[in-house]
Symmetry: C2
Subunit: 160 residues, 2 copies
DNA sequence: GTCCGGACTGTTATATTATAACATATCGAC
DNA sequence: GTCGATATGTTATAATATAACAGTCCGGAC
C-alpha cells in the first residue's frame, strides 16, 4: 500500500510472502510445489516486476532443468491463486501484497528505479464500476497501471 | 464515450477519424504520410483493437512492401501524435476517439465481441491521482483497461 | 534551381515473450 | 497397488517487437 523504502528488511518481505502463500494454498487446497514456491520466491526477490525469461535464467543458474513452459506454468498457477500479478505494460510479474483478499490490483510503476507498488484500488475500482455501469458494461477484470516517479527517486533527482 | 452499436455507419467513423487526424497533424506540424494514413485507416476498420501483424498482413495484401518495422514505425507515429492507443492487455492498437484533447485513455474491452470502447476517464484519473499523491508518487502515464461484456453481447447471450 | 540536412522508408536479421503438443513422472484417493 | 488426475520435462514453434544500416524523399537556405 506504499512504496518500499530503499533500505528495508527485504528478507522479512520474502518470508511473509511465502508464509502467506503457504496459508493461501492450504486454504484453497492447492499444491505449492517446490518449483512453484521457488518461482514465487524469485518473483519476490525484489519489488520490481520480473520477466519470465529472467526467472528462467535464475532457475537455470540454480541447476533446475528449466524451459519456458516450466516458468510459465508456475506463473500461471501463481496468477490463478492470486499470489502474483502480471504487469501488462512490462510483460512482467510481481508478488501480490495481500493474497486472499479480493482486489483488482492497481500498480504504481517507477520509471526510474523500476519498483512497483500495489495501490489500494477501492476508489479507482469504484470510479471504473460507475462509468462502466453507465454504459451497461459488466466488468470482470481490470488492469490499472500507472507510470511515474516514486518519492524516493523524485527526491534523489529533482527536476532532471 | 459509449459502445459502438452493432450496426452503425462505420464509414462515417472512419472518415471522421481521418479528418480529425489530418487536422491534428496539421496542428502539430506532423506529416501524415500515405502509409501512416493507411495504417490509421486499417486500425479504424473496426472498433476492435488490431495487432501489428494483422495490419502488416493487410498492407501486404494491398501490395505494400511491408516488413514489421514499417508497421511499428507508423504505429509509433500515430501513438506519439495521439491518434491511436495501445491496449497493453491485447498487444493491439485502437483508434483514438478524441485526438487533440488530452486524456489518459481508459478502455472497456468486450471479451465476447472484442470491441473496445474508450471511456470518459476523468473520474478514474482523479481517483488514481489522489491515491498516487497520497504516496508521493508523481504520475506521468496511465493504463486503464477493463475486461468484461458489452451491453450488446450481454443481451444476446444472457447468463451463459 | 540545387544543395544540404533531417525525416522517412526499405530491408535483413534478430531479440523477446509466450504457447502447442506430447511424453513422462508424481501424488493421493480408493 | 492401481487408477485417474495433476504436475513436470522436452522439443518445437508462434507471436510480438526492435536493432542496424542503406537508400530515398522533401523542404528550406542560398
Amino acid at each position: 500500500m506504499s512504496f518500499p523504502l530503499a533500505q528495508h528488511d527485504h528478507g522479512a518481505c520474502i518470508r511473509a510472502a511465502l508464509d502467506a502463500a503457504e496459508a493461501e494454498c492450504r486454504r484453497q487446497g492447492a499444491r505449492l510445489t517446490l518449483i512453484r514456491r521457488r518461482v514465487l520466491e524469485l518473483v519476490w526477490s525484489s519489488h520490481q516486476p520480473v520477466g519470465a525469461y529472467a526467472l528462467l535464467e535464475s532457475l537455470a543458474r540454480e541447476g533446475w532443468s528449466a524451459a519456458p513452459p516450466t516458468v510459465y506454468r508456475a506463473l500461471d498457477f501463481l496468477l490463478r491463486h492470486g499470489l502474483v500479478h502480471r504487469i501488462a505494460l512490462l510483460n512482467a510479474f510481481v508478488g501480490c501484497t495481500h493474497p486472499g483478499q479480493p482486489h483488482a490490483g492497481a500498480f504504481l510503476l517507477c520509471k526510474v528505479c523500476g519498483a512497483a507498488a500495489e495501490l489500494d484500488d477501492a476508489p479507482v475500482v469504484k470510479a471504473i464500476a460507475e462509468a462502466a455501469a453507465g454504459l451497461g458494461f459488466s466488468v470482470s477484470r481490470q488492469t490499472i497501471e500507472v507510470e511515474g516517479v516514486c518519492p524516493g527517486c523524485r527526491d534523489k533527482d529533482p527536476a532532471p
